[in-house]
Symmetry: C2
Subunit: 255 residues, 2 copies
Amino acid sequence: MPKENAHSKTDTHLTMRVVDHFSAMIEDGRLHPGDQIPPERDLARSLKMSRASLRAGIGYLAAMGVMNVRHGVGTFVADGPPELGKASISLMGALHGFQPWQMFEARKILEGQLAALAAERGTEAHFTALAEELAEMYATINDPAEYLIHDVRFHRMIAKAAGNPILAALMETVTSALYDDRRKTAERSRGLKQSADLHKELYRAMRAKNSAEAQALMEHHLSMAQSAQDREIAAVPRRRVSGKSKSSRTANTSR
Amino acid sequence: MPKENAHSKTDTHLTMRVVDHFSAMIEDGRLHPGDQIPPERDLARSLKMSRASLRAGIGYLAAMGVMNVRHGVGTFVADGPPELGKASISLMGALHGFQPWQMFEARKILEGQLAALAAERGTEAHFTALAEELAEMYATINDPAEYLIHDVRFHRMIAKAAGNPILAALMETVTSALYDDRRKTAERSRGLKQSADLHKELYRAMRAKNSAEAQALMEHHLSMAQSAQDREIAAVPRRRVSGKSKSSRTANTSR
DNA sequence: TGACTTTTTGTGGTCTGACCACTAGAGTAC
DNA sequence: GTACTCTAGTGGTCAGACCACAAAAAGTCA
């Protein structure tokens, strides 16, 4: 396996030369989040390669979430919240057979711990922000789509309050795979009341700096969510895939 | 804000059309890990786009670790162990200022939980494999480079025994950021004896299905490793860095 | 003056088709 | 058999042109 290691000088692939170039600039502090890089035409000339090759490298960085390319505007160093692996989890699920219960298990561990840490380390500002999202959740209890937005923000704020951006990024990675499905599946309103109440308890536990309770409540909350989803799946059976087409080594991609 | 997402039919970017195309094929089961996709020239014709655009999409998938491109041979669907985000964490560290202690905190949580799960779910085959790696560790106790290989395998086997590939992939993501540095820093031999003994205790706890003890031992082990790294940093002061940018490329000595 | 519309400018996105570089296997000589 | 050479197939790079989009500038009209 070509375990490409960072910062090889004689890297043959031009793509990797570009990646290394920008990696070095970022790690050296010559590039910061939000910075715009020069136009592709100029950059290609100064790096002595064709624009096509340069674009391959930029595309690679963009896929990793390090760069942010905006058509007609420019290319920027990513500045938003850290995102690891992006959509890869959903693909990885298909590739390696991730099971829904495994996702929830991972979430329980990560978010449970995050809630505990937030209880210990959260500041007044964090708790205030949590309270505001909580209020919004109650206010939009009859609008599942809107509710979901504040629900997500609430969880994200907990991650922020926990003070560990790495754990927050990992949570984001796992969660994002489930987000799309949830967005499409408008939840029943009656479920939202119960959900909001649970969040309120969670909020109180964190504000009281009771980390053990916060963790337990979070895990309980996610268990409920898991049950809800299981029921959803049972109600709307998923399409089944035809058997193992192990046929030829070369897959036919055209329809 | 533009949370671009999956499976848009009218996606303007050709790059994303390619990504969606293969994502769909993978999720439908028409493509499996290890499968080879058709040559770029044929594929470009059948997808009705230029080879350049097709390559952009393939490059994107390759960056996400979904595809595996081999010059002169062909392009394949990834079949190795799941890897989320690849090298992104080290870059993210530079971008968002990840601190070493945050990495260890994340590791403690993930690997601690993994050890507990392994104790509960591990099979005889798993424990046997662990015992073999343990033996290799004692055998190579005077060869830090070789020792490290078995050390990593030991931890990886724990992750496998835990039976949750998502958590395993997350651990891999966090750990890989530290691996390169560790490889360069030859450890002290006397530290390895202590490390091996700790792994042995850990092994025994797991085999005895004592999940609580396994988790505690793993966390203790990682705490020791963290202390060792802190000493390493203190002994070899880093080059000064300006402002907020701080290199995450530091040595990790003990495990 | 002020607000709206049109044009210009600068950026990334795509196309074409040619040629280079690598790999693996077939063919050949010994 | 072994080692070498050749060849076909694949991804990698190049060049230059043109398209599409977004923001800013210029023009237009009340």
